[in-house]
């Protein structure tokens, strides 16, 4: 009793659990509001959210467990939830259930009760249940399960107070032991279960953390994690236990033609159906008329693909259209910042580092933030409304053929499946996939899409080498990207991520109107976690790449040659009076300075790397200049074009045709100008042929994702795959281009 007062002051840890679509997120948001934290469960990339709240002077920590239908150890999410409960021993579980679907939702409740930890059943969507004529007898439900139950409407907050006081009540109960619920599995199974339970209780297994009854149940079911535990901690048990289980399996197959694990699940459902008969009465027929009517239209075989295309195109347009002004303001702000810095500082390396490395890096990170925010707002609408599950339903057949999931389409389209997307939000969109293999494959192929940053390079090369078929070639590139992504996914799923996907069986939740709070919170969480987790890495790498492209500097004597030439021209310029002479001298001056930049770039680490790679790159049609540009493109694909410009000593301002175009903003017309002038230059260069241009375009499409994307991949699926995406994509790109370039030559296309 002495620790009673101590526990009064300590934080109550509540695990929040529930089926997907039961309203767990709404309740979590209502409980913790904006004070939620996001991290990972130890050792895995499954996200953990937690938050704190105060109630009646007590501090409560709420940990959001992944949405789950069960606690078996097949799916990562469910294993994580189970491990959390066993290892962290929260004070209690609040199990959110959909009151309109008790039979299925209470299955998860049974899993907690069999483990024995104190559980509160939060009967969510009570309003809908009442409207549908469902009458739930709380007392009978509570006594049938030996739990506390609280009716709730999480979206409106109705019942929240009762839930919170119930949490305090359960947390402060004097008897803190776990009391596993013992379900009867029928005479045959129960007998064996008792036998195994006795042996487990007397063994070296950690029965203080996991009840012997539960271990026995899971062992009988053949749960892989418990199987491992027994093998590791009490191998002496295997000899007596395995034959007992085998005997029961054989017996069940012979008498009931059933599998042991399946039969045990059926019995739990039998238990629940008995409970439902005593605790739930239905006064009217259960209907979901509105939702059914919508489905009859939207899931109609002819309408569904069209409506899907409209929705996904709408999501794409919304993301890029709505974020454009914000992205523009951010760009202008960082430009302003960079100009202020250059005005305030004297010329030199520190200034360049600050401007191009640090401000450029931070600006680059934040530049993606509006995109991510709006895309997740859009995805949140699709998910919360219930349409996302329907997308999986409509497209599953096609994507399954490539080892992906119907929902993979969202990431692929946002990532550039419609030219101009961005792989960063695309990779993050794969979060909606539950199966880890499908998720990893989707994430790894998303960077193959034609993202917005690759477009200027394509436009330049297409304009220069295929002036008569621009639209056709661009379209071809997009289709090639899709084909490549799907085929690569198939290859990944066959060789690197083999094995069947998790079962598809999916709930189509009723259509609901998304709430603004839900959408905003989701968008905010995703954006903030991107800035925090990926941002730092991206800034660091931007600086490293900047240094690679600027160091080592040209040796003084070489720099002096350019400086001397510049001084000569400047002196002449001062003395010149005639306008025509002035103009030609100014042109000469900028040509010398560009030549100097080009020489400096070649001398830098990136330049040397580019030159060093020439023997390899020649085989796919690239010279050292293209190589440097591709090295720079690792920081951001936008850099490919400007670096190529520097390498060819082309100036963005020196283009003749650009200024005629409408009063575009400075950045846009500079880029347009460079596209034109660089294109003209390459087309005139004998080393560059249409075949080499195709090779370069394909290489840019396929090779290592920009570092911001790699940082996001690392955050989503870990270091190993992030490194894989850099190395494998580059090798892959090289091999494909080798086939294209050498094959093209062989066919006489060079």
């Amino acid at each position: 009793m002495s620790d009673q007062s101590a526990s009064d002051r300590s934080t109550i840890v509540v695990a929040l659990a529930g089926n997907p679509n039961a309203g767990k997120t709404s309740l979590f948001n209502k409980l913790t509001g904006l004070r939620a934290h996001v991290g990972n469960y130890p050792g895995v990339t499954v996200e953990q959210k937690w938050g704190h709240l105060e109630y009646q002077g007590r501090s409560i920590k709420v940990v959001d467990l992944p949405g789950a239908y069960s606690l078996n150890s097949y799916s990562l999410d469910e294993r994580v939830a189970r491990d959390f409960i066993i290892n962290e021993r929260p004070d209690l579980v609040v199990n959110v259930v959909d009151s309109t679907n008790l039979e299925r939702n209470l299955y998860l409740t049974l899993q907690f009760l069999e483990l024995g930890l104190p559980t509160i059943v939060a009967l969510n969507m009570m309003d809908v249940a009442v409207a549908r004529g469902l009458n739930i007898d709380l007392t009978r439900l509570e006594s049938g399960l030996n739990v506390r139950a609280v009716p709730l409407v999480a979206t409106s907050g109705q019942g929240l107070d009762e839930l919170l006081s119930c949490i305090l009540e359960v947390a402060d109960r004097p008897d803190k032991d776990w009391r596993p619920l013992e379900i009867s599995y029928g005479a045959d199974i129960d007998a064996t279960l008792g036998q195994i339970q006795a042996q487990v209780a007397a063994s070296t297994l950690p029965v203080d953390r996991m009840p012997a009854r539960w271990l026995a149940v899971k062992y009988l079911e053949g749960d892989p994690a418990v199987e491992q535990l027994v093998t590791a901690e009490a191998p002496e048990l295997l000899e007596p236990l395995a034959p007992v289980r085998t005997k029961l399996r054989v017996h069940l197959r012979a008498t009931e033609d059933d599998e042991l694990d399946g039969a045990m699940t059926d019995r739990r459902y039998g238990f629940l159906s008995g409970l439902r008969r005593v605790a739930v009465t239905q006064t009217r027929r259960d209907t979901r008329e509105i939702s059914d009517t919508i489905d009859r239209v939207l899931l109609n075989r002819l309408v569904s693909p069209i409506f899907f295309l409209v929705v996904i195109y709408g999501l794409y347009q919304f993301t890029f259209w709505a974020s454009a002004p914000l992205t523009g303001w951010l760009e202008n702000f960082f430009e302003f910042l960079s100009e202020t810095v250059s005005g305030a500082m004297s010329d030199g390396l520190l200034k360049d580092l600050l401007r191009e490395g640090i401000i450029g890096g931070v600006g680059g990170v934040l530049g993606f933030a509006p995109l991510i925010a709006f895309m997740f707002a859009g995805i949140s609408i699709l998910e919360d409304s219930g349409y996302m599950a329907r997308v999986a339903f409509i497209l599953d057949r096609i994507f399954r053929a490539f080892g992906l999931h119907g929902n993979s389409v969202v990431g692929l389209i946002v990532g550039g499946g419609i030219a101009g997307g961005c792989a960063i939000p695309g990779v993050m969109a794969a979060r909606t996939l539950r199966d880890p293999k499908e998720r990893i494959a989707t994430i790894l192929v998303t960077p193959f899409m034609t993202c917005g940053a690759k477009l200027p390079v394509f436009l330049m090369l297409v304009g220069a080498f295929f002036p008569d078929h621009q639209a056709l070639v661009m379209m071809g590139l997009t289709l090639f990207a899709w084909a490549l992504a799907l085929v690569s996914a198939r290859l990944l799923r066959t060789f690197l991520l083999p094995g069947a996907s998790a079962p598809f069986v999916l709930e189509l939740p009723p259509y609901r109107l998304p709430t603004l709070t839900g959408i905003l919170l989701h968008a905010w969480e995703r954006t903030w976690s991107y800035v925090k987790k990926a941002g730092t890495v991206i800034v660091a790498v931007t600086i490293v790449i900047w240094m690679m492209m600027n160091f080592p500097r040209l040796p003084e004597e070489e720099q002096a040659v350019f400086d001397d030439r510049l001084t000569v021209v400047e002196n002449q310029l001062e003395q010149a009076t005639d306008e025509a002479a002035k103009a030609s001298l100014e042109a000469a001056r900028s040509a010398i300075s560009l030549e100097g930049d080009s020489a400096a770039l070649r001398h830098s680490l990136a330049g040397r790397l580019g030159s060093g790679l020439t023997p390899l790159s020649e085989l796919i049609g690239f010279d050292w200049r293209a190589n440097i540009a591709l090295v720079g493109g690792f920081a951001a694909k936008e850099v490919v074009l400007s670096t190529l410009g520097t390498a060819y000593a082309m100036s963005p301002e020196a283009a003749p045709a650009a200024d005629d175009e409408s009063g575009d903003e400075a950045g846009g017309s500079e880029e347009d100008a460079l596209i034109l002038s660089l294109g003209a230059r390459l087309a005139a260069e004998s080393a560059w042929s249409p075949l080499a241009a195709v090779s370069l375009m394909v290489f840019v499409l396929v090779y290592a994702p920009c570092f911001a994307t790699v940082a996001v991949i690392r955050k989503e699926i870990g270091n190993r795959w992030a490194i894989f995406s850099m190395v494998a994509n580059t090798v892959y790109a090289y091999l494909i281009c080798l086939v294209i370039y050498q094959g093209g030559h062989w066919l006489g296309l060079g």
Binding site: Y69, S70, N72, Y74, T100, N101, E103, R104, Y107, E221, G222, D257, D258, E259, L260, D261, G262, T265, D266, Y269, S273, D286, T287, R288, S291, D295, L299, R301, L302, S304, P305, A389, A392, F393, I394, D396, R397, I398, R400, A502, P503, F504, V505, L506, E507, L508, P509, P510
Partner: protein, 85 residues
């Protein structure tokens, strides 16, 4: 009693699950979603390429692939008798 697999059922057809074949991850997942013997189901329709299948279970919507539906045997006569009552 007419027992067929769920894949063979047509849109609009209903019945009671008589048996779920197999255990392991798939067998468990199917049952954990409530597709257990005795449960009444109705086929709502199928996706544009005929797969997956969309069903109603206790008034709620579920979808599963045809190769998953192969494991679910449904007594179609039983349910019809019930609905005629």
């Amino acid at each position: 009693m007419t027992v067929i697999s769920m894949r063979q059922m047509e849109a609009g057809q209903s019945g009671a699950i008589s048996r779920v074949r197999g255990g392991g991850e798939l067998g468990l997942r199917i049952r954990e979603m409530g597709l257990v013997p005795g449960a009444a189901i109705e086929i709502v329709g199928r996706a544009p390429l005929n797969d997956p299948v969309h069903i109603k279970l206790y008034g709620h919507d579920l979808t599963l692939r045809n190769n998953e539906a192969d494991n679910i045997m449904v007594d179609v006569a039983a349910e019809q008798e019930e609905t005629h009552e």
